[in-house]
């Protein structure tokens, strides 16, 4: 028995800010203090509050330390672990009078969350199967294999109302039923862990923090649909997730929870890991299967759907990581329990990756139907620097944006679709008044132009033409007709592309046109970028009241566009200026601005 447990986040965010060194320092300091028998250090998955990493929690008190540095470790060991006096300066504080948070669950960030998919992330050691089992792990699988028929399992999943969390929102139980109905000598289960939407990282956190949940869910899916083999297709950019999955699969096999005759039921199931190689289109289900087969990851026309002809030409069920993460909980607690959360047509919870201009960047899991305002203001802690909220982007390169006027929208599949947005995989990027919406649309289109696989022409050529129009607009050469052309082209591409990538590629443009048309018009008519982002439309100016004539800017200017004499205000010749921003960076008096 240990008298205290120290949990340190070993997710990607915190590892990037050095949490592994903290674990090393902790272990050696604890050993030095002679506490090795009394205190256990555990490397967990992601806690969610990545902005404040590296994060450390000391139990039994639940003391929540944030932004811990290796040099703080000695003090934590000496003061807290040895003498029982928490180190106040490192404890997470929130609110206007910086109250110290007593425990994790009482913080504003966690209070409104409801964790199902992320329930074990930051709680257990993902590299130890016994900790997963202690959290009721593999119980759902045991229940399915020993007490339920495949049809019973599918019925529970259907009744729960679970819909695909990868973006499409297709009812999961129905998908399973389609595969189950098709007879074949071999069927497959595929887990889509090719989280390509830039800005979303919930799947990575689940794989890193709770890999056994995915193994258990895929095995259940195999039993329900009649598949005996599964593939997990993971992005190669996620090395920690791959390593933990490999460890988890090895442990499950050792305990007989994977392999032949699981729980003496006569059911066999085996899992393989395949690494992606950086192609966004492989997040599309048919492209992903083509890629597992060792080919260029180009999508196939549907029908035939994967439930009929999927991986290696056999019936296949494909779900994404977050969808699978919900499965064991649904089977353990029943369909009614899951369906009691959420809205009428969107049940359960959804994980969002909060990012961009928001204080508490990180992962949040909220019941469907929570308003965007609650997510941004209460959980996310609002916009930093006193700036104004402008829009939230959801669904990545396939999605749209929710403008400030619709901040009270209750988030679920249908409400988002109704305003021309989409749930997507759950990236939620917050933008403030300094972000130009035309530039954001261009950013996403640049992404899809780059990632279009080239198989069908509406997507390959159409997105490129849209990109050219946007470049014309942001460089101040656009006309009002260009905006109309852009819109017309967007609808053609949506209607005629082969797969989801092309069909949704114009969404960021259409959504910004819908809510921020006046910004497009400002770019083409007034030749101005209201947010001050599009370089070609900006001029750098020196404020004569602030300029002290230090000459730094004139020295650094590569174009020789700045003139003036020592101790007198300088000026910029806009006809020579390259708009590189070097002067602004060098100015010590904040005298240079973009207008």
């Amino acid at each position: 028995m240990y008298r205290a447990h120290v949990l340190v986040c070993g997710g990607t965010g915190c590892t990037s800010s050095n949490s592994l060194e903290i674990i090393k320092a902790l272990e050696s300091s604890i050993a030095e203090a002679g506490l090795a028998e009394e205190i256990k250090v555990i490397k967990t998955g992601c806690f969610g509050l990545c902005a404040l990493g590296p994060i450390m929690i000391v139990y039994p008190e639940g003391c929540f330390y944030c932004q811990v540095k290796p040099e703080d470790v000695q003090e934590i060991v000496d003061e807290h672990l040895l003498k029982g006096r928490p180190v106040k300066r490192l404890i997470y504080k929130e609110g206007s009078n910086l109250e110290m948070a007593k425990s994790l669950n009482n913080t504003d960030f966690y209070k409104k969350q409801h964790r199902i998919a992320l329930r074990n992330c930051g709680v257990i050691d993902p590299e130890n199967i016994n900790e997963y089992i202690a959290m009721d792990g593999y119980q759902a699988l045991a229940k399915c294999l020993t007490e339920m028929t495949p049809a019973d399992v599918i019925k529970v999943v259907k009744d729960s109302g679970l819909r695909g969390r990868g973006g499409g929102g297709f009812p999961t139980g129905l998908k399973w039923e389609f595969t189950a109905k098709n007879q074949a000598d071999q069927k497959y289960v595929v887990c889509n862990a090719d989280e390509g939407d830039p800005g979303a990282f919930m799947d990575r956190s689940v794989l890193e923090g709770d890999p056994h949940a995915i193994i258990e869910a895929m095995t259940i899916c195999g039993y329900a649909t009649g598949a005996t083999e599964g593939y997990i297709y993971v992005r190669a950019e996620y090395p920690i997730a791959v390593k933990r999955l490999e460890i988890a699969i090895g442990q499950a096999k050792e305990l007989g929870l994977l392999g032949k005759n699981i729980f003496d039921s006569g059911f066999d199931f085996d899992l393989h890991i395949r690494l992606g190689a950086g192609a966004f289109v492989c997040g599309e289900e048919t492209a992903l299967m083509t890629s597992i087969e060792g080919n260029r990851g180009e999508p196939r026309p549907r029908p035939p759907y994967p439930a009929v002809k999927g991986l290696f030409g056999k019936p296949t069920t494909e779900n994404n990581v977050e969808t699978f993460a919900n499965i064991p909980q649904i089977l353990l607690h029943g369909a009614e329990h899951f369906a009691s959360m959420g809205t009428e047509r969107s049940k359960g919870t959804k994980v969002f990756a909060l990012g961009g201009k928001i204080k508490n960047t990180g992962l949040v899991e909220i019941p469907m139907g929570t308003t965007l305002r609650e997510v941004i203001e209460d959980i996310g802690g609002g916009i930093p620097g006193g700036k104004k909220f402008k829009a939230a982007q959801t669904g990545g390169p396939s999605g749209g944006c929710i403008p400030a006027s619709l901040i009270d929208t209750e988030i679920d599949y249908d409400n988002l679709t109704a305003i021309g947005c989409m749930m997507g995989s759950g990236g939620l990027i917050v933008m403030d008044e300094d972000n130009c919406m035309v530039d954001i649309a261009k950013f996403f289109l640049d992404f899809t132009v780059d990632e279009s696989c080239g198989k069908c022409s509406p997507c390959r050529i159409g997105t490129k033409r849209m990109m050219e129009l946007l470049e014309k607009i942001t460089s101040g050469k656009g006309t009002l007709e260009d905006i109309d052309k852009l819109e017309e082209l967007a609808y053609y591409i949506k209607q005629n592309s082969l797969c989801g990538l092309g069909q949704t590629a114009p969404n960021p443009v259409l959504a910004t046109l819908k809510f921020f048309r006046e910004e497009y018009i400002a770019h083409v008519v007034d030749k101005k970028c209201p947010a001050g982002v599009c370089k070609a439309l900006l001029n750098y100016v020196i404020d004569p009241d602030k300029c002290r004539g230090c000459t730094m800017c004139a020295k650094v200017c590569p174009a020789g566009a700045i003139s003036g004499t020592v101790k007198n205000p300088h000026t910029i010749d806009t006809s020579l200026c390259l708009k590189c921003g070097a002067c602004m960076e060098k100015c010590k008096f904040n005298a240079i601005s973009k207008k």
Partner: protein
């Protein structure tokens, strides 16, 4: 995506070839493992020059055109070698809205090369990547395995100088 193909002559060693052959022998029973073999080959050689692709095609008994097709389809496969220090700046959404493009521009300007290129002395190569999943630390860049978060363009000089020394 257009891949930059290296003009640097191939200089693989017999040891590297032996390691690649081992990987191929373990995998040639299953042609769907092609990408796995190519990923391993890239770990061995650092990139996938034409000569290596020929070895893979012959060893796996897969047409060379297919190997080449796969190598040019996926962003991860490099057809030119990377520098001793490989810099990747994240241009994922969260990083982009927090100004990672400025960071990338600054690095390109300082090193005098474009994304996808390598400095003539072989010290640095730059690429723009899409989201490494550390959005909480945006904007982020990686130099080999070191992660730098919460960046702004003014920090670039200081960071690169460390590697130039």
């Amino acid at each position: 995506m257009v891949k930059k193909i290296s003009k640097i002559p191939f200089n693989g060693t017999p040891e590297q070839e032996a390691r690649l052959k081992e990987v191929i022998n373990e995998s040639k029973h299953d042609k769907s493992l092609l990408m796995h073999v190519m990923q391993q080959a890239q770990l061995i050689y650092g990139y996938l020059p034409f000569e290596v692709q020929v070895m893979i095609a012959e060893g796996m008994d897969i047409p060379l055109e297919k190997v080449y097709g796969v190598s040019t389809f996926y962003a991860q496969f490099a057809l030119s070698p990377s520098g001793k220090y490989s810099i990747s700046v994240c241009l994922g959404t969260a990083c982009y809205v927090k100004g990672s493009q400025d960071v990338l521009n600054k690095i390109c300007e300082k090193l005098g090369i474009e994304p996808g290129e390598c400095t003539p002395d072989g010290l640095f190569s730059i690429e723009a990547c899409r989201c490494i999943g550390a959005c909480g630390l945006a904007p982020v860049m990686m130099i080999n395995d070191d992660v730098y978060g919460r960046l702004d363009a003014s920090q670039v000089d200081g960071i690169l100088d460390k590697y130039m020394a």
